[in-house]
Symmetry: C2
Subunit: 344 residues, 2 copies
DNA sequence: CTGAAAGCGCTTACAG
DNA sequence: CTGAAAGCGCTTACAG
């Protein structure tokens, strides 16, 4: 099957290729009747624009790129990314943009992908996740002047636009809630420490613990997997200064931590309270259902996509703060066991 | 920043653009010394191939497309798709292919995407999931002669290549196992009935139940969400002829079903046995851990990607049968309660 | 309002 | 082994 081109349409309509191009793109320069005839013929012979030819003439690709660098085994399990992606997709597809995803093994590979996409004009812009402290991607993206929106906290680098959520405030809400219940030993099972939002959460956690005289503000670092979350929980629950409450940096680890607590013979929330970050159905399916810091992740992705489209189309865009995660108390949190109970 | 082109390289190297092209692509037609010089200059000035120009000259896009049509809320929660995609990605990125994903609302939209991709030469081939009985996508893809690999059972349509798994055999294994434990009332919470693999599972389920004199072979249809799974479980467990075992078509519904059973005061597995299909960490995190039909989904995706690359590059490729899901018995299955127990 | 033409950055026969 | 040239399918000034 030979693909029809605008030359075919031009011949059939008896006009020039240029006129066909104007008609097809809704540009001025052709009469209404010509435009209608051209569109009808295009429809009839099943014409589709050749994206390569358009791109070569400088037209946008109508594609947004996203490079994911977390290990594939996380992507398959953690609902966060798929929810984020589905939100991004919803916004993009409503504006007829496509999303190109690429999973990479490390950060140099990620940077190489941006350079290649830029060189190939494959994408009109990119969405960048999981910013690190001193992130090497930022200068590269600035240098390439590739339209970029950062999903998450950007910090000082004011040259890029970001959509972010106040993780510090959410940490404070969770710890204040646990403290109000009477907890004095709160531990945290944190995410990858080199990520900016992890650093922000850790700092906020330490500060609020200090302020409320909750001690020690122990954070164990993990890679977000259920395995790591289980390991950290096992370590915390078998330590001499066993915490009475644990705050997890994602839902998968919190669910795994719940299983570990049960397996070690602890009752939740009687012996230990658990709080998850991000509230997928996972949290509601387990027993007891998990108290969680909840936020609308698809909406978050949608907002990021909208910002990026604004940047791409040259509209004024500046960083926006998205909804702060809010605590949804469920069955996994309660007052700590009395001081006469077992343990420390 | 102006993007360098092969014209720049040609000027710097003092050769023609054609020679540069041959050198860059490892084609014969240039001396070894010229090739080295050209490559060094390209590297030095940071040249990247312009994909649009290559595509316009008929070169492949080195991109594979995948259209997902399930509702976004499923994608975010069901591990199956992300695991499949990560397996596809792993295989593609090892061969320097990218994956373009597009989420659509319905099947006409999906077909429109294929036509557009084909017209725009955006992808070299596509991976098609969730085949339906009498699937309208098949004739369109054949007509477009767009390289296609079907993930899942293809049935009679022999004109396309597929990678499939014998779901019928897996159903039989699960039911035989439950029957051997003594179950005589087994129900199934099935997926979307219009999908081919659902139909195959349903047919196999009915046949094996008939053969083993297990009755009735009731299948409740769902949309794969936890909500639907919970609803179906509630209905089954409150029916006068309450089943002693339930087989779910995915893991999310099985986990939701477990929560419902607990909430209704049933003990698992003492009162009712549950079996999940697909064995993500979810199944191991809940209490009791779920007996599951397990298979290596990333590998499945990887095989599909490899088949597609073979089709694209013109290598001989034919449908291959992938691993059959195998039963992993865990704590959610046991002998049924004795006839004197409560219920039917 | 319309036509003829250049140009985007490559690839690939075709001559030398 | 190398150079000059056509062509891929569009877009977009530039003349009419």
């Amino acid at each position: 099957m030979k693909r029809p081109t605008i030359a075919d349409i031009a011949r059939l309509a008896g006009v020039s290729k240029g006129a066909v191009s104007y008609a097809l793109n809704g540009q001025p320069g052709v009469s209404e009747s010509t435009r209608r005839r051209v569109l009808a013929i295009a429809e009839e012979i099943g014409w589709n624009p050749n994206g390569a030819a358009r791109a070569l003439s400088g037209a946008p690709s109508h594609t947004v790129g996203m490079v994911l660098h977390r290990p594939a085994r996380i992507l398959g399990v953690e609902p966060f990314f798929m929810e984020l992606i589905s939100g991004v997709e919803a916004e993009l597809s409503a504006r007829s943009y496509a999303l190109t995803l690429q999973v990479v093994a490390d950060q140099p590979a990620e940077i190489a992908v941006y350079r290649r996409w830029w060189g190939e004009r494959r994408v009109d812009g990119v969405l960048v996740c999981d910013l690190r402290v001193d992130d090497p991607r930022i200068p590269v993206l600035s240098e390439l002047t590739l339209p970029t929106v950062v999903v998450g906290m950007l910090g000082e680098s004011a040259e890029l636009v970001s959509v972010w959520s106040d993780d510090a405030a959410a940490v404070v809400e969770a710890v204040e809630y646990l403290s109000a219940l009477g907890h004095r030993h709160i531990a945290r099972v944190g995410g990858l420490p080199e990520l900016r939002h992890t650093a922000a959460r850790t700092a906020a956690f330490e500060e609020v613990c200090r302020r409320l005289e909750v001690a020690p503000a122990l954070t164990i670092s993990t890679d977000y997997t259920g395995e790591d979350g289980a390991r950290a929980t096992r370590r915390l629950l078998s330590s001499p200064r066993r915490p009475t409450a644990i705050l997890y940096d994602n839902d998968v680890m919190a669910v795994a931590g719940l299983a570990v607590a049960h397996e070690m013979g602890f009752s939740v929330p009687a012996d230990v309270s658990l709080v998850a970050w991000d509230d997928s159905v996972l949290c509601q399916l387990v027993h007891p259902p998990l108290t969680a810091l909840s936020r609308d992740i698809p909406a978050y992705g949608g907002h990021a996509a909208r910002q990026l489209l604004d940047v791409i189309t040259g509209l004024p865009a500046s960083s926006v703060q998205d909804e702060t995660a809010h605590l949804i108390p469920r069955g996994s949190t309660a007052a700590p066991p009395s001081a006469t109970g077992r343990g420390a």
